[in-house]
Subunit: 347 residues, 2 copies
DNA sequence: GGACGTGGGAGACAGATGAATAACAGGTCA
DNA sequence: TGACCTGTTATTCATCTGTCTCCCACGTCC
């Protein structure tokens, strides 16, 4: 189909017109006046030869590469990256853009981060999507602001780059509310110990949602540990290993919930009959495969990737001004994914 | 640092020489003779202005874009994609290349696959890496063979495109051998029902390894199911729910092992005291977090990504001929990752 | 016969690279 | 002493593949 080495010249020769005319016809240039019959000859020739415009040459002339740089931290270590890439890639392709991927390390120096951006700049990308693997506030490379760019899952300390983040608070609220709606009044939380926005927002939502329902908040029903499976296990042991245990637990993430499941099993507690759980992150490998399957809150990674690209392209094409959104992050919903880990408390 | 809109012309003007001279100096062209003092002026000017060559213009002129197309199926659905991307990206960057990512669906038509490739061809990529998410034999898009390309984790039916795949057989052999070495003589296997190379190779390795150790093969100690957690659970119930149960089980993958863990727990069997397990895939989220942590075989996704890029670039730069390797796939090791799910059988 | 409408082409241009060549100092030879 | 050669240093010009801004040719109409 698409033979390499067939250029606009070949099409022009085949159609018996000049390259200018071919360009005009194929790009459907508004001001160009070309006869209907000529247009057909051009289209037919292009089709027959399998002509596709050389995007590199076009980029040089138009100063638009149609490429968007995608910088991601730690691409391989979390499944989240894949969802962001997918959302971004599909959105980009739908509008005729492609993605160039660069993997950055979260341990990199400012200089290395800046040179990652410089790399993309040399490639003449039209915009940059900068993704981090968990929600935090960071100092972006200085040169990032030289073209349209969007931060995914993080906030720019200086508020110069616009960003899109998940609604931690709302997600946590619906998680807790679901437990309340199921009839629970003594609810515990297993939290993270890291000082990141999610830790604080989810705890805050936990407290406020309880308060809104007229339920008391007990300090000792919140146990914090490192946000991995072993941490969840330890925290759950403390939380559930007493007579005054909660009948439901909101876990900081699905990994901690996985640890909590084991703690419950060891304590002889059945899920959800004896204790209900709700997680956060919707890591499918875990949430779908735990037994019983875990009800959890999904992070909108796909949606954030797509949102970022849509707005980036709008900015590139002059339809939006990203600077206007830079001061306040865009917040996307974290929907609850219902599975089987919640039941009414036993009387 | 890197200001956009500073071109070779600006450097030339600043250094008081022609653009050609700047090009010669910065590219360290062998045949160009430029005085030492002039060279210094050029370097100093380039440095001062923060000049970086416009890769698009260079690509047009040299007919080399320095970009490699990366087509992946189902980027988001498995963590494997991330490892391949990471291996590929790091290898590419180390040699001055960048990656353009395209997501393809395994359900796509031949036409859509061909147009994915055409997209990359229009972008003038120097080579293409085509990755699938599980090992199988497939018909590659016809236009893939028009430039250097490598298939990752799959084989080309027609043997025209070279490929790199995991050593399924060797990996399965070391898994089974480890069980034998631990003292087990009655070993079961939980297999997949899909007709893919891994299913057959792993079963074959299972039989041959038992035979090599002088152990008998019992038909009923191999149970097959759909290769997900529920399948593993069902198969394990059949395998372990009898008096003549094996003392160790080799699982087709870590997800099936996860299901098997639950079956063992329900049957009151302790791992590894009553039954040992070994998995396949090394899906960290599962293998590290099951209790006890799962000993398993790692698939060399990172290594396959890196190998593919190295050989692709060698071919692009004329250092290798990929066609020579096309007839036989390159096979990479699947190392065993020891954790805590294997013990000696009880007397 | 000049304005105007229509169909299409010539040539500059984007930012680099590479082959060919100019400019010049110094040396050689008749 | 002038013609010629040589080696060094750097420049000019063409090229890569499209796009885009004029500009031209031709007919027609008042």
């Amino acid at each position: 189909m698409n033979n390499r080495s067939v250029g606009i010249k070949d099409v022009a020769a085949a159609a018996g017109v000049s390259v200018t005319t071919v360009s005009h016809v194929l790009n459907d240039v508004a001001y160009a006046r070309v006869g209907v019959e000529t247009r057909e000859r051009v289209h037919e020739a292009a089709q027959r030869l399998g002509y596709g415009p050389n995007r590199v040459a076009r980029a040089l002339r138009t100063q638009r590469s149609g490429m968007i740089g995608f910088i991601s931290e730690e691409i391989a270590t979390t499944p989240h990256a894949g969802r962001i890439i997918l959302g971004a890639e599909e959105a980009a392709r739908a509008r005729g853009y492609n993605l160039m991927i660069i993997n950055s390390t979260s341990t990199g120096t400012d200089d290395s981060r800046e040179s990652d951006v410089a790399d993309l700049l040399d490639r003449q990308v039209d915009g940059i999507l900068y993704a981090t693997m968990y929600h935090r506030k960071l100092a972006v490379p200085k040169n990032l602001a030289t073209l349209p760019s969007v931060l995914v899952d993080s906030e720019d300390i200086s508020h110069t780059v616009s960003c899109v983040i998940p609604d931690e608070f709302g997600g946590a609220r619906s998680a807790v509310q679901t437990l309340i709606d199921a009839g629970h009044s003594r609810i515990g939380m297993i939290n993270n110990t890291d000082d990141v926005p999610a830790t604080h927002a989810r705890l805050q939502a936990f407290r406020e949602t309880l308060a809104a329902a007229g339920l008391p908040f007990h300090e000792d029903l919140v146990q914090s540990e490192h946000s991995e499976v072993p941490g969840g296990y330890e925290a759950a042991l403390r939380l559930l290993g007493t007579d005054s245990r909660p009948t439901a637990v909101f876990c900081y993430n699905d990994r901690m919930a996985m640890g909590a499941y084991r703690a419950a099993a060891e304590l002889g507690l059945r899920i959800p009959q004896d204790v209900s759980f709700v997680g956060f992150d919707n890591q499918q490998l875990i949430a779908e495969n735990l037994y019983p399957a875990l009800t959890t809150v999904a992070l909108p990674h796909y949606e954030m990737g797509a949102w970022a690209i849509e707005n980036l392209i709008d900015a590139i094409e002059g339809k939006t001004d990203l600077a206007l959104m830079a001061h306040h992050p865009t917040i996307l919903d974290c929907p609850l994914v219902r599975r089987d880990s919640i039941a009414a408390p036993r009387q």
